[in-house]
Amino acid sequence: MLNYILRRLLYSIPVVAGVMLITFLLFNVLQKPEAAAALNLGAKASAQAKQEWIHNRGLDEPMPVQFVKHLGRLATFQFEPSWRTGRDMREVFAKHAGPSLLITLPGFVCGLIAAVGLALYQVFVRNSLLDRSMTLAAVALMSVPAMVYIIFGQAVIALALNYFPAFGFDMQGLGTARFLVLPVLVMVLVNLGHDARLYRAIFLEEVGQDYVRTALAKGVASTRVLGVHVLKNGLIALITLTVAHLPALVMGSLLIENFFGIPGLGNVLFIAIQTSDQPVVLASVYLGSLLYIAGLILTDLLYALADPRIRLS
């Protein structure tokens, strides 16, 4: 097992290097240093100020030198401080990761339970009118852009019904929960249509397998066949789809956090985009990729543990 982990980590190194290359191409090659300086200092800055800015960051050095330095900095997590606030990226990430997770983790878990439940139910009533209607509803849910859920969620539910706070965040123990309900609900809705359809396909595939026929031939009730036999097999397939996104949850949701005023990493990134704060965007791209790659390794591991055919071979 340890051997397997080490090998996977080793294979990830070229991929991480590739990500570093892409960020380099974007921020150092495709973008002219003068333009970057203008973005940071303002268009009206003097030519001399811009030159100084460029020189301070080593952007006038030959490309290979820049690339090596870029690799080194990324590998050691040394990011340029934010252009807007001047804060160190590591500090920013540490501070804002918590609120992000408070939304995305419950959103992920609730979303998973809801989508699996709906998918199993659809398989239970498969080929009926109910099944087809639910599929249509899922496709309809998928066809609405995320912002519309957010905007309507806030306007209709919060403002009109006045049940939950529409905006804001306050870390005060259990009281925090009421700020989370709407964002989590919106997050679940945004992904529900797409996920339910996907899981339905997986469970439908399992239902066609021989072992289901054997279980029915033993006299097992169809609810138990679905809830135990099909679910357990389906969950293993589900792992490959969902676990990879787990580590990246810490990056938060751009749209939801900004809209509901949650001070998480997603909001940080959102503001960075609006204000062309490139160091933040670069750091987010790099870290987001690392987290996703970690998620892929985690997926392989969990899959190997969960499927007895792999675990015991």
């Binding site: 080929n127 072992y211 279980a215 006299g219 097992v220 036999h229 007895p308 055919r309 015991l312």
Partner: protein
């Protein structure tokens, strides 16, 4: 006076709704099965024999299957009129199945033990020591070291052992009838003989009825007292095994038997079956 048959199929007809229209899989078949008797249903693929086997406990998915006419009488009660709960009661309990592909018919993520235990807990709730029962039944089918083996997952067993495990699972609730649908087709020839021997021994030991569904005439003698030959959804010939094999009456049966290559017989080419002509003669 002969006892009433355990199973009595009368005029069973089953259709399947396919994309290109309706397929008549079973076209009015009838047969009886006495307690303790073994009946072999022989036919090529598409003859309707597997559909018949699954129909006996209404295991066919409906749709696309449609039970057009007929009755399936188990001790006098019509299976086709049973409610879902009654059906679940007889499945695994009074009528049990063994299927063709043991590697895919067993659930890959549960141990042998838990899969057999599921059946026992379902139909024999009075059993207190389930593990002991599992060991007993695994031993009965000839699996060595059953205490170890039962904690294995299906993929850890060889094909022959998987099939034995399936048979054990089927027998765990002492069924009156065992339906074996092509039990040896997916196995090596040497293992085939072992499995048939095992079935024969179990039959003697337990006195249960068996319906053996196969396309292979070669395995039925020695275990099946009677044989029914199916072609295109109909039973074209039925009778005592020895008689049918040595003096087949229907041209299809004759053609089928002719197809079995025989060692030592000189022949220019292997025999084939003219399906179209036989269909016309049906």
């Amino acid at each position: 006076m002969p006892a009433a048959p355990l199973l009595s199929v009368r005029n069973l007809a089953i259709d399947f709704a396919a994309e290109t229209g309706t397929v008549e899989a079973v076209r009015g078949i009838s047969f009886d099965l006495a307690a303790g008797e073994t009946l072999a249903i022989v036919g090529e693929s598409g003859s309707g024999k597997s559909v018949t086997g699954l129909a006996l406990t209404r295991l066919l998915p409906e749709p696309p299957a449609l039970y057009k006419t007929g009755e399936i009488l188990l001790d006098g009660t019509d299976v086709l009129k049973m409610k879902a709960r009654e059906l679940r009661n007889i499945r695994g309990n009074r009528i049990a199945y063994v299927f063709q592909e043991p590697s895919t018919s067993l659930n890959p993520v549960f141990t042998i033990r838990s899969q057999i235990a599921e059946a026992i807990r379902l139909h024999r709730p009075e059993v207190t020591d389930v593990d002991a029962e599992i060991v007993k039944v695994l031993d009965m089918v000839g699996i060595v070291n059953p205490q170890q083996r039962m904690r294995d997952y299906p993929h850890q067993l060889s094909g022959g052992m998987q099939q034995r495990a399936m048979i054990a699972m089927a027998l765990s609730c002492h069924p009156d009838l065992l339906i074996a649908d092509e039990p040896t087709t997916a196995l090596d020839v040497t293992i085939q003989a072992q499995i048939i021997d095992q079935l024969r021994a179990l039959k003697k030991q337990l006195g249960m009825s068996i319906i053996l569904i196969t396309h292979n005439f070669g395995i039925i003698s020695g275990i099946a007292e009677r044989v029914a030959v199916m072609f295109r959804g109909k039973i074209v010939e039925e009778g005592e095994t020895g008689r049918v094999l040595s003096q087949p009456e229907h041209p299809y049966t004759k053609a089928l038997i002719e197809c079995i290559p025989q060692l030592g017989r000189k022949r220019e080419r292997l025999a084939t079956i003219d399906h179209a002509a036989l269909e016309a003669a049906l």
